[in-house]
């Protein structure tokens, strides 16, 4: 099934947000980036990235052009998906402020803008054992907080106060921070690696 000769095609949901930065990161790791604005753009993708941006805007544009069901089906079918910040909110199965979940592909609950307003945006070094011993420098912008975690979800990193900020369930990966804003490509490589890895049984 795997064709190592063919470069992997990784889609970036491009309705709004830090699309360009994810496209650059995907190019850096030797995969082919594909901007996704309409359902037809999802054809032949090996993985999908949901970027940072404004989750309320992205939610509306996903529904306006019929992207919700095909993206949900992709995640449910075992395709690797990475959601960063707003992308984590789109993936979550619960949102604390009463908004309806969008994709519900990841068994976590989140609270939007939970660190505060822009003045509370911050940078910090995180321990992320899954990508190696070197700390990961992470940028958090009006970031969400994970408030609840399902049994099958693995915590990959916590913020300095001990709250989960990177989580994984099967091949669905999400971060509250923005790996696309720094030059460390280990989170994107983790996504690429999971394309090759044998499918795990969702817990």
């Amino acid at each position: 099934m795997s064709q190592p000769d063919r470069p992997r095609r990784i889609g970036v949901l491009a309705v709004q947000g830090a699309v360009r930065e994810h496209v650059a990161a995907i190019t850096d790791i030797g995969a082919v980036p594909v901007e996704v604005r309409l359902p037809r753009d999802l054809v032949d993708l090996d993985a999908l990235v949901l970027p940072g941006g404004e989750s309320t805007t992205m939610r509306r544009m996903i529904d306006a052009y019929g992207l919700r069901e095909p993206v949900r089906a992709m995640a449910a079918g075992g395709s690797p998906v990475l959601g960063t910040c707003a992308g984590m909110i789109l993936l979550a199965s619960g949102i604390d402020d009463g908004d309806e979940p969008v994709l519900a592909a990841l068994d976590i609950a989140v609270r939007r803008n939970a660190y505060g307003r822009q003045l509370d945006s911050f940078e910090a070094d995180l321990e992320v054992p899954a990508i190696g011993p070197e700390p990961l420098h992470a940028v958090f912008i009006r970031a969400p907080v994970v408030t609840d975690i399902g049994a099958g979800v693995e915590v990959l990193a916590r913020d300095p106060d001990g709250r989960p900020v990177a989580v994984r369930q099967g091949r669905v990966l999400a971060t509250a921070f923005h790996p696309e804003l720094t030059t460390d490509r280990r989170i994107h490589r983790l996504l690429l690696t999971s394309i090759e890895a044998p499918a795990e049984r969702p817990a």
Partner: protein, 296 residues
């Protein structure tokens, strides 16, 4: 164990990057703000009057009443921006105390200083500033602006100045990018901009901060035009709430900004929209009433 650093340059520019591909809408009430958010705006600009009314009413245009800004902050979950006058750092201090998410040091308000812009590095809240050409953009970045918007001519509904300014910035960048390293010193002098920022722009082949478009966007096709000319996102002032059907206009401009390179979708969202803002041709505005010339 780990230290946290707040309000860094990376977080300031980072928020601007999160707004890319989106529409930032001028709003004058909490109700407008809710309509904007519902339509898919990525942020709102809290104002007492949209630019076309500032033009009509005349007088001195100042920072908005904090009461209005707080009402708008309470009404929406998307970022809230507010404007201060050029050089009026005390207004900017008030806006920072209100914890707005971005401050626009704006030519739409009456300038408070005809020589100095605000030293934006000393603020924790990020700033956006307007420009007409590359030199002006790089001077503002040198002063600490984390986002640039081309000025256009606000409150006109006429896109011609926005196009002029965006083309000037993009042509300036292409010219810098083609220069030898030893030519950049003279370029900095000519642009009246800090050498370091000039060099960074030449190396990147792009501004070191996101470049958005403002001033004159009144239709979905206007938004598409500016995106195709290189704007990463679009500010819309009077264009939405001075149109016949603001809710539909807001939605249509949001969709046009995302699908800027898809003429089929542009045709669909432009169909039967009702009248855009009436507007005034920017050529009819006497030179002393032009807003874009404010800024030094």
């Amino acid at each position: 164990m780990t230290t946290i650093e707040r309000s860094t340059w990376a977080t300031k520019v980072g928020l601007a990057r999160m707004l890319a591909g989106g529409v930032i809408m001028d709003v004058v009430t909490a109700e407008h703000a809710r309509i904007a958010e519902e339509a898919g705006a990525v942020a709102v600009m809290a104002l007492e009057r949209v630019p076309s009314d500032i033009r009509k009413f005349g007088g001195v245009a100042r920072m908005s009443d904090p009461k209005l800004i707080n009402e708008i902050k309470a009404a929406v979950s998307i970022p809230v921006m507010a404007k201060c006058r050029i050089g009026h750092f005390a207004e900017a201090q008030v806006l920072e105390s209100l914890e707005v998410d971005y401050i626009d040091e704006s030519e739409v308000l009456t300038p408070a200083d005809e020589e100095h812009h605000i030293d934006k590095h000393v603020f924790k809240v990020p700033f956006v500033c307007g420009c007409r050409d590359l030199g002006e953009a790089l001077r503002r970045i040198g002063e600490g602006a984390a986002m640039i918007r081309t000025k256009g001519e606000a409150g006109t509904g006429d896109i011609v100045e926005a196009v002029r300014h965006m083309r000037a910035v993009q042509a300036g960048i292409r010219r810098l990018a083609s220069m030898r390293d030893d030519e950049l010193f003279a370029a900095a002098k000519e642009l009246r901009a800090p050498y370091e920022v000039v060099k960074q722009t030449a190396e990147l082949g792009a501004l070191p901060v996101p470049n958005f478009s403002a001033g004159g966007v009144a239709t979905p096709a206007d938004a598409s035009l500016m995106r195709q000319l290189g704007a990463e996102a679009v500010f819309v002032g009077s264009g939405i709430f001075k149109s016949e059907d603001p809710e539909r206009y807001a939605k249509a401009i949001v969709r046009a900004t995302t699908h800027f390179d898809n003429p089929d979708i542009l045709a669909e969202v432009s169909t039967g929209l009702g009248a855009p803002m009436l507007g005034i041709s920017s050529g009819e505005i006497p030179p002393e009433e032009r807003l874009a010339v404010r800024g030094w």
